[in-house]
Symmetry: C2
Subunit: 339 residues, 2 copies
DNA sequence: CTGAAAGCGCTTACAG
DNA sequence: CTGAAAGCGCTTACAG
């Protein structure tokens, strides 16, 4: 039915060991024999079983990718980058959605172990006691993306969140804003905590006191962005600008602003993290921190491929630099300044 | 190092055949023995090797998913749906991006064969001579999504594109529009052809002649949407409404409209296919055909799971009904009607 | 440079 | 109801 290595060996008049050597580019095969084997392979349309290989060498040519949710636009470029690099190197990709759920994450990690994947890239759901410890114990390379795992020594690719949030906030301060609302992920999450720190640092530099009513944190989803923006705008002394801590929060804030019939720049300023191409394309007047998501994914993929090829122990932490994309809003902001 | 079925067998005092029977829920195992095995499994933290199983039964518990591009928002809900259903049923998912490239598609199909996947879901890049014929020949179930393969008998999940395009166009006609521009995918692609047909049918029903300058087709990407919208708006007698044939075309048209400082509904109407949640959230005044992408993905997944469980020959074609989402724009449209 | 043989970790007729 | 044995399709020491 399906042609196996033995069929090729028979046709080429060699042993299956020799066929294997040729196909895995091992040395010590006479050129003439090599050609005969290649000929037979072509003739039979032989396609080696990756499954059998995986069982034999105890490792499949598969990279596991566990992200929070592919429906979050932040992750699509990441996934795409990992897949591009993986397939270029002959690896396939298992994609899993953990939904920020540690139990689900643990389940998928068991799957990865059971499938003997070559390496795993994941956006960890928890900073400590991550189930991915099991992977490391099984000597499967792991790369954490977007967030860190604090109690484990492993490769990590993140952006400088403090710096990025600082720049966004400074951008608003320079435009004259003095009451700046912030909607952020809960400080238990690395990203939420770091972005808050950047916001605070900018305020300190301008010698402004932190008004706690202007900072709203929670689960960084669209719903919080909507609700928090409404709460901020309902304050007796509402902010003149809002800083949204990720793409979903930005979406939610936008929805609240739209519903109130407010115009961005005319009525208030909005800046945010843009983890998706679409936000700034549809709303060109937003100033955003553009996360280099594709590059982050590519870094992570290269890192894991390198680890697979060269297993070592040392931990590498790569901090990517996000880019502040000033739209025409820079000017507008100064015009609409209210104080 | 890693615990195998033999270790479990030894600890439970049975053969590995019995362990296998217990774990695969085969009948004919004494309850007492079953308990002993389960006990040993728990004690050792045994995790069966899916790789070994795959080799033995010549089929892995993996579903291949070959889409055009995960960065196209149309596909994210589809991917998510497939993954949800797959993992619920103990299957993992291989995700591949074909980029509408038949050679790449063929490559991934070879990968699927080599990995002995249980089934493949794909958005075909070509209507005829699809490389997925190989899968069918290897008795691997295949489900085509979004587009059809005309020269192969296989399960398919699509939407009624003719009807959807007809409804969108009719919506504009009822609001009084008489010059309606259409930006569509090339008629070589099923979706492009069918959506054009729906547009034409609506015009015919209103006894309007087709103005060829109002219909622009090509590669259905953002760039075409932008360029075509500009061309339409530059006409001496420009359309009062534009129908965009998919999400990317809608994005491009939006960009052109924004650049010209035009306001949707005040200056012209825009309707389109919305394959993403975001468009209508960010631009709430758009009237769109909302493709039930998640449901399409779920249907496809259920279909493939059913085929894996019950291999048969008959071909099933499922036509999903898309939903016309009239925003407040219905009223506005009538107000801004110009004739 | 090449082959015979073992073995990766399962499942499944076959026999009892 | 249970076990011994074969075999899925590869790779890799080992021997020559």
């Amino acid at each position: 039915m399906v042609v196996s290595i033995r069929d090729v060996a028979r046709l080429a008049g060699v042993s299956s060991a020799t066929v294997s050597r040729v196909l895995t580019h091992k040395p010590h095969v006479r050129e003439e024999v090599r050609q005969r084997v290649l000929q037979a392979v072509a003739e039979l349309g032989y396609r080696p079983s990756r499954v059998a290989r995986s069982l034999r060498v105890r490792s499949s040519q598969i990279i596991g990718l566990i992200i929070s949710d592919i429906q979050n636009p932040f992750f699509t470029a990441l996934v795409r980058a990992v897949e591009d690099r993986a397939y270029e190197n002959g690896y396939a990709v298992f994609l899993c959605n953990s939904d920020e759920n540690a139990a689900k994450e643990a389940l998928y990690i068991d799957l990865m172990l059971s499938e003997q994947v070559a390496g795993v890239i994941l956006t960890p759901t928890r900073e400590t006691e991550s189930p991915c410890r099991k992977l490391l114990e099984a000597n499967i390379p792991v790369v954490a993306v977007d967030r860190r795992i604090t109690d484990l020594s492993l490769d990590t690719v993140v952006i400088d969140n403090v710096q990025a949030a600082y720049e966004l906030t400074r951008h608003l301060l320079e435009a004259g804003h003095r009451r700046i609302g912030a909607i952020l992920g809960a400080p238990q999450i690395t990203t939420g905590r770091e972005r808050l720190a950047g916001y605070e640092r900018a305020l300190q530099e301008w010698e402004l006191a932190l008004d706690e009513r202007l900072v709203i944190t929670g689960s960084p989803k669209e719903a919080l962005g909507y609700e928090a923006a409404n709460r901020l705008l309902d304050l007796p002394d509402p902010p003149t600008a809002i800083f949204a801590g990720n793409n979903l929060l930005t979406m939610g804030a936008l929805r609240a602003i739209d519903e109130r019939g407010l115009q961005i720049l005319q009525d208030l300023s909005l800046v945010g993290f843009d983890d998706m191409e679409w936000t700034s394309m549809i709303r060109p007047r937003l100033t955003v921190i553009a996360q280099p998501t594709y590059e982050i994914g590519r870094m992570a993929a290269d890192l894991i491929l390198d680890r697979i090829a060269n297993p070592t122990r040392s931990e590498r932490v790569i901090v990517m630099k996000p880019e502040l994309r000033r739209r025409e809003s820079v000017l507008d902001l100064q015009i609409t300044e209210r104080r």
